[in-house]
């Protein structure tokens, strides 16, 4: 925390209120406060335990279990985890829609990873100490991004790097996919006000 004292507290409280869904838990508010404090104060460095607390919360947030989204792209007629076929115009939970799009249609993740495996792999990426963590705004809204080399999560059509996006205002993951252009996509114009809370480690440098 900067030495400005109470005004800073008030600014943070307003930021947290504006970027946290109604009904969020005390832990979610506390985590958002840590994220936004680090995002908006260049002098603020999260301690290792604070970053761990943030990531533990993000790992448990998952995709929004109550939302539904219309199927898009080429996931129509793919087989859902429950064995039924996706119908044109159908609405699916975001977790399923992302699984079908990125694992089954796009083949970014390993073949046969399965629905539960996809979600477990996302949690694994968030918990991985070699993953980078950055906070920034996308289309004006604060997000936390976890980025890691694909490594064992490289599928038939996967890319070198993958991301998990967590949007504060929603309190859930909004996507988890492989990046076409790697880390370059984490810069403007796609993202603004970017600050790395932890830089990623590259274990497999390109040839």
């Amino acid at each position: 925390m900067t030495g400005s004292g109470r005004p800073r507290d008030e600014i943070l409280a307003r930021l947290v209120a504006a970027n946290t869904r109604p009904g969020a838990s005390d832990e979610e508010r506390a985590v958002h406060r840590l994220i936004l404090d680090a995002a908006t104060d260049p002098a603020r460095q999260l301690a290792a335990a604070e970053l761990e607390r943030v990531l533990q919360h993000i790992a448990g947030a998952g995709f929004d279990p109550l939302a539904l989204e219309r199927v898009r792209g080429n996931i129509v007629r793919l087989v859902r985890p429950d064995g039924r076929e996706v119908q044109q115009g159908e609405y699916l939970p975001p977790a399923e829609a992302h699984y079908l799009r990125h694992c089954v249609a796009r083949q970014e993740w390993p073949a046969g990873i399965g629905f539960a495996g996809y979600l477990a792999a996302i949690r694994q990426v968030i918990a991985d100490p070699t993953s980078g963590v950055l906070v920034g705004r996308q289309y004006g809204v604060w997000q936390l991004t976890v980025v890691r080399e694909a490594r064992e999560l490289l599928g038939p059509a996967g890319r070198e790097w993958l991301v998990v996006e967590y949007r504060l205002r929603i309190g859930h993951w909004t996507t988890a996919h492989h990046l076409w252009r790697g880390l370059a996509q984490l810069d403007p114009p796609d993202k603004e006000d970017v600050r790395w809370l932890r830089t990623p480690r590259q274990l497999h440098p390109p040839d």
């Binding site: 939302a67 989204e69 792209g73 809204v141 997000q143 999560l153 929603i170 909004t174 996507t175």
Partner: protein, 124 residues
């Protein structure tokens, strides 16, 4: 836990297969733009956020594909697919603007798609 052993079973597509796969995949997403633009104002925040992040990634994919085209990796069919895809994105520009989204970096592909726009004869 996904292990390295399991990943070994995940054979990579060939470069040509990956290019075709990507062209088909991005084209399917781009074809959805008119319908998505129509429903955009009423979409929940989470769905818009997810779509915007995916869209940016798809447009990054188009830029990568254009780079691959310049490197000479494309068959004639793939080149035609790529040009058709870029033209479709260009025609969707007003809808994308309504949604606050942007198209890809064309890496000067426009000069091949629309040479008439770039012709600027030197007068002596």
């Amino acid at each position: 836990m996904v292990t390295h052993t399991k990943a070994a079973a995940s054979a990579r597509l060939s470069r040509e297969e990956r290019l075709t796969h990507a062209l088909d995949d991005i084209a399917a997403m781009v074809a959805e733009i008119p319908e998505t633009a129509a429903e955009w104002p009423g979409l929940p925040d989470g769905e818009r956020a997810g779509f915007a992040a995916e869209w940016d990634n798809y447009m990054a994919g188009v830029t990568v594909l254009i780079g691959a085209y310049y490197e000479g990796d494309f068959t004639e069919t793939q080149r035609d697919q790529l040009f058709a895809l870029v033209r479709e994105i260009e025609s969707a520009t007003p809808l994308l603007a309504q949604m606050g989204l942007h198209g890809p970096d064309l890496l000067n592909l426009g000069v091949l798609l629309h040479p008439e726009r770039y012709e600027n004869p030197v007068r002596r």
